[in-house]
């Protein structure tokens, strides 16, 4: 076991030395991988941020029922009892026109305007939280409620979020395709780097084989090199994204202040970052493995 460990330690050492000894070419391939990865990674991060907006809303759709201005107390109770009998409803809440006006006064910063109103223009309303429903079921519920005589208007509050969500799903598909393509690019970059390395180390490999090196001994430093290159490339991409988000957030602050909100982009989560590093290490390893399989067998001592 300790021999096994020491051999791995040696291979890792050798790999790191190799990286340091050829700083320019190492740096170039790392940057290439970094840039290639930063594209899908950047879009992924952006999508993730947009999803936090749509995410919570879309899970359980919300309906707003606006009642006719002429609706009496009796009519309201009528709707109340009918809603209680309706299926798919998780909870509902009555908001009278007075409360609605108060809320408008407090939240909208429209105190002046509201104070100047002669009469309350707002309707009574019900806010309904539905259970998980399919779009068809949602449409059925909406149609049923719309038939009731006291109802002026039924609004599905989560429509915009659903559209955004659908859009984001499309985006995710694009990211996935991009990621697959650029993962392939990473494998190819590593494949080629390892190929060049094997060529320049031809003598060493040949001598090593002659004096009893096993194939796995010869392979090991190359595999480490591939994996490290993958991770370093991922780190470069991560850094690029971090810098990008930093820059965007700085300008967003100003924009968000104008809209009196606190909107900013979140960085990749720890879990996503870890997955990124592990995944790119595996890809680098794979590129190296393929390259070694292809080129090492061609070096047989004579």
């Amino acid at each position: 076991m300790s021999m096994w460990l020491s051999q791995h330690w040696q291979a890792l050492n050798q790999t790191l030395r190799q990286l340091v000894n050829t700083p320019l070419s190492s740096l170039l391939s790392i940057i290439v991988i970094g840039i290639a990865f930063s594209l899908p990674l950047g879009i992924y991060t952006l999508l993730g941020n947009l999803q936090t907006i749509s995410g919570d809303v879309t899970d359980t759709p919300q309906l707003s029922l606006f009642l006719k201005l002429s609706t009496t107390q009796e009519g309201i109770e009528n709707i109340n009892s009918r809603l209680e009998k309706l299926s798919y409803i998780a909870s509902f809440q009555f908001i009278s026109k007075e409360i609605a006006l108060q809320q408008l006064q407090q939240e909208g910063g429209l105190t002046e305007v509201v104070n100047n109103l002669i009469r309350n223009p707002l309707p009574d309303a019900f806010i309904i939280n539905l259970q998980q429903v399919t779009p068809d079921e949602l449409e059925n519920i909406r149609a049923t409620i719309k038939e009731w005589s006291e109802i002026e208007h039924v609004q599905v509050d989560t429509d915009w979020a659903r559209r955004l969500d659908a859009f984001l799903r499309l985006g995710q598909l694009a990211v996935l395709m991009l990621a697959v393509l650029l993962s392939l690019a990473l494998v190819i970059v590593v494949f080629n780097t390892i190929r060049l390395q094997i060529l320049t180390k031809r003598d060493e490999i040949e001598v090593s084989k002659l004096i009893g090196a096993t194939d796995s001994f010869i392979r090991r430093p190359f595999l480490y090199f591939g994996a490290i290159q993958g991770v370093a490339g991922a780190a470069a991409a991560w850094l690029l994204i971090a810098l990008g988000i930093q820059a965007i957030n700085e300008s967003l602050i100003e924009l968000a202040q104008l809209y009196a909100t606190d909107f900013h982009l979140n960085h990749l989560s720890l879990q996503d970052s870890l997955s990124l590093f592990i995944f790119s290490a595996l890809l680098g390893w794979l590129g190296a493995r393929l390259s070694v399989a292809q080129h090492l067998s061609q070096i047989e001592p004579e």
Partner: protein, 217 residues
């Protein structure tokens, strides 16, 4: 022990390097393999190290049948061998110390133990002061000593040398032969392919004489 039984070696181009060769080298023996160039000396050594396989016949090295040896078993056969190549195969991009270190790295030695052994091997061939120098700075004889140090650092039971004194003057050749003799004295089997008559004049040792692929003595 090394034994050949009716060994033939024919290369893909049809050239027949060895014809019906049979001999046995006992453990701890020192044997010369002699003959003109092209007589099959190198081929014989390559068969022992499983660099080539016999076309027919049997080659046994330390109880292993070279004919039947699986490809992934070859490294382990070579662990018991020390090889000195005609073209030296020195790695010029690393120090003398690192060159001699390579066989121990391959065998997974701990760094400390390995460094001690490398220095012992370099001391034995008189290159200890130059351990941090690069091979390019060495003379022809010193390079040959480096090869010997690399071949013996892992303490092989069989030492195989292909023309170890080629292009060296007589004094150098004698001192290198002295090194081989000292390994022979501690029980290492030594096989030296050479056509250097100054070495072959030493009648204490057996000589296998090859002539156009056939063993004549």
């Amino acid at each position: 022990m090394i034994s050949f039984k009716s060994v033939y070696k024919r290369y893909p181009d049809g050239y027949e390097a060895l014809k019906n060769v049979a001999f046995t080298i006992h453990p701890g023996e020192l044997v010369f393999v002699s003959g003109h160039s092209g007589a099959g000396k190198s081929t014989m050594l390559k068969l022992i190290a499983a660099i080539e396989r016999p076309t027919s016949g049997h080659v046994m090295v330390s109880d292993q049948n070279i004919n039947a040896l699986k490809k992934n078993a070859i490294p382990f056969l070579r662990h018991s061998l020390g090889l000195i190549f005609q073209d030296q195969k020195i790695l010029y991009d690393r120090t003398i110390f690192a060159n001699v270190m390579l066989p121990l790295q391959i065998r997974g030695f701990q760094k400390k133990t390995a460094a001690g052994r490398v220095r012992a091997a370099l001391d034995k061939v008189g290159l200890l002061e130059k351990e941090n120098a690069y091979p390019i700075t060495l003379s022809g004889g010193e390079k040959q000593r480096l090869c010997i140090a690399r071949a013996v650092v892992h303490r092989p039971s069989i030492l195989i040398a292909d023309e170890p004194t080629a292009n060296l003057d007589v004094d150098y050749a004698q001192s290198i032969m002295e090194v081989f003799r000292s390994f022979h004295q501690v029980g290492v089997t030594v096989v030296i392919a050479t056509h250097d008559t100054t070495l072959l004049n030493d009648t204490r040792y057996r000589t296998l004489l090859l002539n156009q692929g056939k063993l004549t003595v």
